[in-house]
Subunit: 239 residues, 2 copies
DNA sequence: GAAGTCATTTGACCTTAGTCAAGGAGGGCT
DNA sequence: AGCCCTCCTTGACTAAGGTCAAATGACTTC
């Protein structure tokens, strides 16, 4: 197994010597599906690089609901932003979504290397900046956008990523629902609804987008013409 | 007017020479109440330090609603995280909340100084890290917490800040409502409700917390015993 | 001090999404 | 095949907040 950690953005400008140093404090591990890596509130002395599978970052509410903050894909690092805090504590929990492989690194050690390389600092700041932007967008989505809008935006992103109008969902529906901050039931209903409007066709986790432009307009401003007024399962009539 | 920008965390480890350099590209300005500083999507070539008044950062939905992401207080910088992006664009809009005074700095110029000072880099990364954490907490609040919980948490924060159980709200109620992602009406009703439960007393924007421990428990897990079941203005009875 | 403007409150009602409960459907295992 | 298990779907209903509109209050400005 010979992974070049330099393929990860964060490490990409390290020289050979630095790579060796970083690897000295590294530790590779395999996680089973659902295995926990750390929990919200744990001391954060290490950060991670996903080399296989997916890691989900999430928060749990007092009544057990969980909101998925992010799903980290292979090649990406996470929790590296914490090393700059005086008392680093993970603000989220992390566990494997399916079997996964990760490398962990000692934060202190990496900080030391960082103190010699402005270039790596800049890289990290770039990453953090983007993450900041992503979170702001997410807050926007959560407060200013409806569940349907979020769903449509997600479908469009996925379509873009795959490059085809026919694709398979990147994770189990329940997981995607939590990522989009809705219940599985709502997720299912919205998908059904889009399907009934012939905006897409779905069979299991296979989706084909039929009307891209309509989907796009829904992702931006919901209900160009009444999507919700005809939502199923409304009890209006019985009042 | 002789403000030492070093009192701002971001600049605190600059030497005299660097301060001079930074100030060379700086520009002080005064904003009237509601005056816009920049809008979401504008090119982000400058970042800012608030020296008087408050600046609100917000996003606007397609139907005109606005969500306040943050309210920046004097002594704090904002938009500095953007300079690390290749194509920097403000992810939020900014405008003065009441008359305000700010200093703006040229990002490029500052980047140059940064490239000579690891210490300042570390400081920035620390700030960004905290901001990241704050946003995650906010997402948590929005998805996993109710409006009442958010209100209670805000009141407790404010009480902590002031150090007394009697205090005045830090901004107009409508503004606070937008900050907490709720409508002014909801804000008012929740406050009324807390008042009717003798958890607090309110007169205008003066608030006195009566039952701190109950407030605290509401902030954590809502409805230890039924707060919502007795919410006013419900039409249950007419069904 | 009257008029006007703006923020807040209250009331009545509506919409979104969550809850709870009951069925499907698919996949792996024996 | 039959069974179990987990995930997804569907139906009926509830709850939290939003909407709209009117009433009140508070603060300016003339």
């Amino acid at each position: 197994m010979n992974i070049d950690i330099r393929s990860a953005h964060l490490f990409s400008s390290l020289n050979d010597h630095q790579v060796t140093q970083v690897l000295e404090s590294s530790h590779i591990s395999t996680l089973k599906d659902g295995e926990s890596l750390f929990e919200t509130g744990d001391d954060a002395n290490r950060f991670f690089l996903v080399i296989g599978g997916q890691i989900k970052l999430f928060r749990v509410s007092s009544n057990g609901d969980q909101k998925i903050i992010d799903i980290i894909q292979p090649g990406n690092t996470f929790a590296e932003a914490l090393m700059f805090m005086e008392h680093p504590i993970y603000p989220v929990s992390a566990e494997a979504l399916g079997p996964a492989r990760i490398i962990s690194f000692d934060s202190k050690r990496f900080l030391h290397i960082l103190s010699e390389s402005i270039e790596v600092c800049f890289r990290i700041m770039g990453t953090m900046s983007q993450r900041l932007r992503g979170l702001i967008k997410e807050i926007d989505d959560l407060t200013l956008q409806s569940a349907t809008t979020r769903m449509c935006a997600m479908l469009l992103r996925r379509m873009d990523e795959v490059g085809m109008s026919r694709f398979t969902l990147p994770a189990a529906k329940g997981v995607l629902a939590a990522r989009l901050s809705m219940k599985p039931e709502t997720f299912s209903r919205i998908l059904q609804n889009l399907s009934s409007k012939s905006i897409l066709e779905l069979k299991g986790s296979e989706i084909e987008i039929i009307d891209v432009s309509l989907l796009r307009s829904l992702a931006h401003i919901e209900s160009i013409y009444g999507l919700e007024p005809e939502m199923p399962c409304r009890v209006r009539s019985s009042l």
